[in-house]
Symmetry: C2
Subunit: 317 residues, 2 copies
């Protein structure tokens, strides 16, 4: 297992600069007063392809040799990683195949295709996904880019908090959502090297709290198909992300579904941005644990903005 | 009638800098391909108090002498100007009174109060509004800050396009929504002086096209209570804004209600920002008139983000 280094992250940042936005940081006096902290929202919902995953995917794609690149890239993902890998492959002009359950939302399939990628459908089971994915790789020789358990991806995600500290200076803490742990790992990689005084908190839905339980147990716990509105956060930790979580994370905080939805609406209303339920979990945990963040300058990672505008969670039922 | 000058706008920009955001400019490859133009969205929905009107209101409030300021400011508005004037007055720590029909949305009243302003209700008629407003001024001696027919307000709004050209450089055109014409007048003021080659287009709902008809007729035409989803654009031109419109605007383009709603959803989806129907009218007119903007670098003013998240126009019916 290769652990990515500060140098890898710095190389990644130079490599991906032409392909990703240096996203803005937004603030809100109202939310500062509400939380008792000074919050700096790093808006990766405004990133290319609508998610921070454009960083890691671009680093993987543009780091390939020409020979590797000619065979293309492949992944399995029904979320932002598939879209972002297709985006990055499109920028380099190489093939991209995304294996996705046939039951995945049409909008997700369209998004992959919109950037020029190919969708190959599998049945909605792990065994079918693995079998179909193996076929794709055997046929194409494509390079597998895992959504998060990949050192190139983690080095890419680490560029987000590098920009954040360049943009806002000294912070006491950064809070990022945790699913598989790619963003949290990248954040740990960067901050433990460039700003070791900054605490890293991970924020997780109570209904998909496998990372929080892993953190307390001291080993990876993976749940089978948890249900949460924060659909980007259902996947489990893997070896590489677990390394960063256990080594550098200060704590993992959780929030209920209602708290996540309320925080999401609050961000839409006050920051005037469209973002996913997953991205609201950090604010939900800050609101729930004011004593942890009181008076602190806190970075909050808004991870993505790909949400179905016809099905907003506060309008359900 | 005093016509504000370039110098007034430059003074305004220095004066309001501590009180407003230099808002980001967003771009979207998808929207560029869709329109055939290169679009630069100036995001005043991310402005303080959620609208560009924080600029003009701040310029008026912070330009008062101490003696004037002590008596406070007043206006009549059931929209963003009331909220923004309350915001600016709150920053200076002076009283602000906003006269508003008792039928105005509770959220608008709450927004004024949230920044420390006082709401005085009138009946929903012009005569009642004028009578109640006269009483307020007689009682308080407050300085009237009109939502748009005010040289201080127009000079303040002009700072938006100054920032835009500083941020993105050379443009061929700027498109801004037109209601009373405050933003369009400020845009004309700034661009006619600092970048006279840039054409200014105004964008208006077909169902509230009084400015477009005024433009063609050569004199102000005011409609009585037009109905449109773009509720910030129902008010008529006045002398001062008419001066800028007739002198510097290249054309006024209109869009239907459906076109406005479609453009709004497109911006939410692709730019990941929360903005008002009024702010979608420019993109709607660009989509409708591709030949006008083909191949051009075009600034698009996203004027505000204060929208009811429980009543999104594409979810109606």
């Amino acid at each position: 297992m290769y652990i990515p280094t500060l140098a890898d992250m710095l190389v990644a940042h130079e490599r991906i600069k032409p392909h990703v936005h240096r996203t803005p940081v937004l603030t809100s006096r109202f939310l500062n007063e509400l939380t008792g902290a000074e919050l700096f929202f790093k808006c990766e919902n405004l990133q290319k392809a609508g998610a921070f995953k454009a960083r890691g995917a671009s680093n993987a794609v543009f780091g390939l040799t020409d020979a590797q690149a000619a065979r293309g890239v492949a992944t399995h993902s029904s979320g932002n990683h598939g879209t972002c890998l297709s985006y990055a492959a499109g920028r380099r002009g190489i093939p991209c195949t995304v294996v996705m359950p046939r039951t995945a939302p049409q909008a997700k399939k369209d998004a992959v295709r919109g950037y020029g990628g190919r969708v190959v459908e599998c049945e909605p089971s792990t065994s079918s996904r693995e079998a179909v994915f193996a076929e794709v790789v055997a046929e194409t020789g494509a390079e597998f880019v895992h959504p998060y358990n990949d050192h190139r991806v983690i080095a890419g995600q680490g560029t987000c908090s590098k920009e954040l500290i360049e943009q806002v200076g000294n912070l006491q803490a950064v809070v990022a959502p945790i699913g598989g742990g790619g963003m949290v790992s990248g954040t740990c990689l960067t901050l433990s090297n460039l700003a070791p005084g900054v605490k890293v908190y991970a924020a997780e839905p109570e209904q998909a709290d496998d990372a929080a339980r892993s953190f307390r147990a001291g080993h990876i716990i993976a749940d089978d198909a948890p249900e949460t509105v924060a659909d980007g956060l259902k996947v489990p930790l893997k070896e590489l992300t677990w390394h960063f979580v256990k080594t550098h994370v200060t704590d993992i905080l959780t929030a209920t579904e209602d708290e996540i939805i309320e925080a999401m609406k609050l961000i839409w209303k006050r920051l005037k941005i469209v973002m996913e339920p997953s991205s609201a979990v950090p604010l939900a945990t800050i609101l729930k644990n004011p004593q942890v963040f009181a008076g602190a300058r806190v970075g909050v990672i808004i991870t993505g903005g790909n949400v179905d505008l016809d099905k907003l969670p506060w309008l359900r039922g």
